[in-house]
Every structure is written in C-alpha cells, then in structure tokens.
Symmetry: C2
Subunit: 256 residues, 2 copies
Amino acid sequence: MEKIVAITNQKGGVGKTTTTINLAAALAMADMRVLVVDTDAQANCTSGLGVDRRSLRKSIYHVMILNEPIDQVIVRTELDNLRLLPADKNLTGAAVELIDLPGREYVLKRILTPILPDYDYILIDSPPSLNILTLNGLVAAQSVLIPIQCEYFALEGITDLFDTLKRVRHSFNPDLSVLGILLTMYDERTNLSGQVRDDLRNYFADLMLETVIPRNVRLAEAPSYGKPIILYDIRSKGAESYINLAKELLNHAKKG
Amino acid sequence: MEKIVAITNQKGGVGKTTTTINLAAALAMADMRVLVVDTDAQANCTSGLGVDRRSLRKSIYHVMILNEPIDQVIVRTELDNLRLLPADKNLTGAAVELIDLPGREYVLKRILTPILPDYDYILIDSPPSLNILTLNGLVAAQSVLIPIQCEYFALEGITDLFDTLKRVRHSFNPDLSVLGILLTMYDERTNLSGQVRDDLRNYFADLMLETVIPRNVRLAEAPSYGKPIILYDIRSKGAESYINLAKELLNHAKKG
Ligand SMILES: Nc1ncnc2c1ncn2[C@@H]1O[C@H](COP(=O)(O)OP(=O)(O)OP(=O)(O)O)[C@@H](O)[C@H]1O
Ligand SMILES: Nc1ncnc2c1ncn2[C@@H]1O[C@H](COP(=O)(O)OP(=O)(O)OP(=O)(O)O)[C@@H](O)[C@H]1O
Ligand SMILES: [Mg+2]
Ligand SMILES: [Mg+2]
C-alpha cells in the first residue's frame, strides 16, 4: 500500500468519509502513524474524528491559501497514532481562490512534502465533485481508493472517474495508481447489491478489493459521537470489515 | 407550491435526484406540465428519466454557456406531461467557465424566463456542492425543497445550507422561500432515523414536511431501467410516498 492515498468518488454519499476515518483508525490501531487530510468544506472527517470545526482557529484552508505552516494546524485525535489536518467552511471559497494561483493543482502536494517522513500513511478525503480540491488530492496522492455504493447512480459515475484519472496521470501525476475499488453499504438482502457487484467484477476484475463493507447502522451512528467505529463499537460488523480492509491493504501489492 | 423549485442539499447522496425525478413524475401524473432541469454534471436526473446523456448533441451546458435556444435542447420523457432539460459531462467545466461571465448567478434564471408559461412546475436538481451551478438554481427558484437523510453527517450540513440561503436572499433572490425539509431513506428499524427526525422537528418545526420517504430498494432499482418509480413499480412504498408528497405540496401554503 502506497503512503499517500486519495479516497475519491465524485458521486455523493458513497462512503468516502466513512472509509477515510475508519481505515485510518484501523491502520493507527495496527501501530501505523497516520494523517487524515480533510479537503471537503463539509468537514465531515473533522467532526467524525471528534474535532469541532467551529472551534478551530486554523484549517487546511489557511495552509493551502494563506501559507500557514502545516505543523501548527495539524491536530491530535483520540487515537495516539492518528492525526488530522482539519477542514472548515472557508474551503467553500477555496475552489475559486485556487483557480488563479500558479501551480494550483500542486498546492496540496507541496504542503504535504515537509511532513511525509512523520507518517506511515496519509489518507486524503475528497469532496463529492471533480473540482480543484479533488484534483489537488489526486495530484498529491500516489494511489487512489474508490469507494462505491452498490447502486445504479454510483455505477454510472465510475467511467467519468476513470477518465479523470487518465487526465491526471497525463498532465500532473504520471505514477498515480489505483489501490482498488471498495464496495460499501453492501446489503446482501437486495438483488441490486449483488447485481452491481457482479457488473463491477466483470468490468474491473482485478481492481476490486476482496473486503466488502456491509450496510451497518453502527457506522452511521459513530460520527454523532465523534468516534471511529473501532472506538464506538469494536464488536460491530462495521468495525470488523474496516479492520479486514486495513489487513488486506497492508498485504497489498501495487495495482495498475 | 411555487412554480420553480430548487431541490438542494450540498451533502452528497441524500436523495436530491431521486426526489426530483419522482416528485416530477407524480406531479405529471396529476396532469401538471412539469420540466425537470438537471444542473449536475453526473447527469443522474437525465439517465434516471431514461435519456442517454452520451447520445445527446446538446445539453443545459450549451444553453447556459453557448447561448443555444432552450427549446431545441429540452427533450421528452416517457411521461407526456414531463420534459427534461438534460445535463452532460460538459457541465464539469461550466463551474469554471461561469466564473468570468457577467451576471453569472442569473444565467439559469435568464434562460428559463421564456419558457415559464409552458409549465406548471419546474424542478431543478442540484449537484452535491455549494458551487456556482447550485447558486444558479437557488437564484432561478422561487422556493427550495431540502431532502435530508436521517443521519448525522447530513444533519451537520444543514446549518451551512441555511447560511447559504440567507446570503442568496440578501444578494440575489430576496423572495426565495423554503418549501420544506423532506426526510428521505427513513428506516424505522433504526434508532438513528428516529433521533435525527426528532432533532430536526425540534429545530425546524414548521419547515418539516409531513410526508416521510422510507428506505425502499425499489427506488434504487428504478434508475437502472431509466424509469421513475410510478412507471417501475406503482405499488411500492417508494411510489406511494412520492405520490403523497406531491399531494401534500399541491395543497401547500407558502412557508417562510
Ligand atoms: N457501511 C455503511 N453502513 C451504514 N451507513 C453508512 C455506511 N457507510 C457510510 N454510511 C453512512 O452513509 C452516509 C454517507 O456516507 P459518507 O458521508 O461517508 O459518504 P461520502 O461519500 O463521504 O459523502 P459526501 O459525498 O457527502 O462526501 C453517512 O451518513 C454515513 O454515516
Ligand atoms: N428512499 C430511498 N430508498 C432507497 N434508496 C434510495 C432512496 N432514495 C435514494 N436512494 C438511492 O440512494 C442513492 C442516493 O440517492 P440520490 O442519488 O438520489 O441522492 P443525491 O442527493 O442526488 O446524490 P448526489 O449528492 O450524488 O447528487 C441512489 O443510489 C438512490 O437510488
Ligand atoms: Mg464525505
Ligand atoms: Mg443527485
């Protein structure tokens, strides 16, 4: 598994933030030093890790746009090995402010460079769009993890995402690989989940990760307590599946 | 119910597109002439109504950015009373192209003006972000319908949305009202759904719509056949709830 991973899918509500938080926590539990980077103005990663975005004086916005030093903005979380570069509402304007900056696609990559030695893994959560913030994540990353719900609209958007990855490789980040496609909110009681899974397996064969994340209400409850699932309910199916995902990725060879 | 309604929530995956398609179809079934406007580059409304975005020569992009006449781009759907102004992938670039246009917030409002007399209702589906396309929808609309999942992350984003509505009223559209907040994907088996519903009812009291949309897999299956739920499975709970929603809104007095 590469050190810097972007968790990306422009379709909304497919489990990007839930995957970022809980994969990061599972890796931290396995004694890896992990940084979560929240690039979404909704700041769901920030609140899901128990940090109140309204109480922050500085966020990723101040580092990317106002050149504040990154080590003064990174905060601790309840897990010793897990740190966070938090987001706040200012990011809503960042998409416009970044447009006029020279090298606008490389800003995130540039700000992460000095702290790379401090972490084993850096997970970047993306907003639900193919905007300049998502692009910054794909340029800074060495590989991309694609969460996808087992539903039709999520399936439809996947070709757009792969087109975007091709463009990013061509213009900005030639070494960007695909870590894998992760099925989320899988509900074995419905035919739909099974059909979409089969479609994806036929089409993307070796890019599909073995681990499948089931629909599990404990995963949706945990964020209201500001805790990753392993601190909220370690016995739940949700916690088990993200621990399995961390194990699978730690044993993972690089894919194309 | 006002004629032009934006269906908006920057949180991803809360049921914006599903609500736009199925409310529009239920209104069309009640003999209203309805136009659906798809402003999302994912073009889920377009495919959910059975139109292949790749086969389109023109879309809303060509009308908003290249000044093509709107009546040459609007297409028919399987329901006689329901038309569609389709989206396509070009919209991904539109957010940047619109930034430099004078009066960029009013472009959608301007292109809809000549066709207002042809429709009883115009429903505008928004992308999952507070970008210039969502803003265009909020400026063109007379009221806004806010779908919200009964989950924590969706609850968190609602204050940002109301802040945005305040700014839109102040700078661009003073008469923008809130048609209501619609609970979607409600799962009565989980405590979470009930808790979030109660939080919302305490906080937003009279803005909450009576109709609640249950989680119903038939709603997630219908888009793969390009059909609204009333054509895919009229007997399902999903179809029943959207028909109830249409009834409630048709009898609806304007709210603040
Ligand atoms: N496996 C799961 N089982 C049950 N609920 C889940 C699961 N994964 C995520 N959720 C819930 O589904 C909703 C959407 O997930 P999440 O917010 O992580 O998606 P996202 O892709 O980050 O959304 P956005 O596009 O808005 O950033 C959240 O309320 C979350 O708590
Ligand atoms: N009531 C429901 N029951 C079951 N599934 C639903 C329901 N409403 C929507 N869905 C499914 O949930 C997913 C998200 O819904 P939808 O795409 O309509 O949300 P959205 O807010 O438009 O997403 P985006 O933010 O990406 O535009 C879709 O796969 C849809 O089919
Ligand atoms: Mg998210
Ligand atoms: Mg949508």
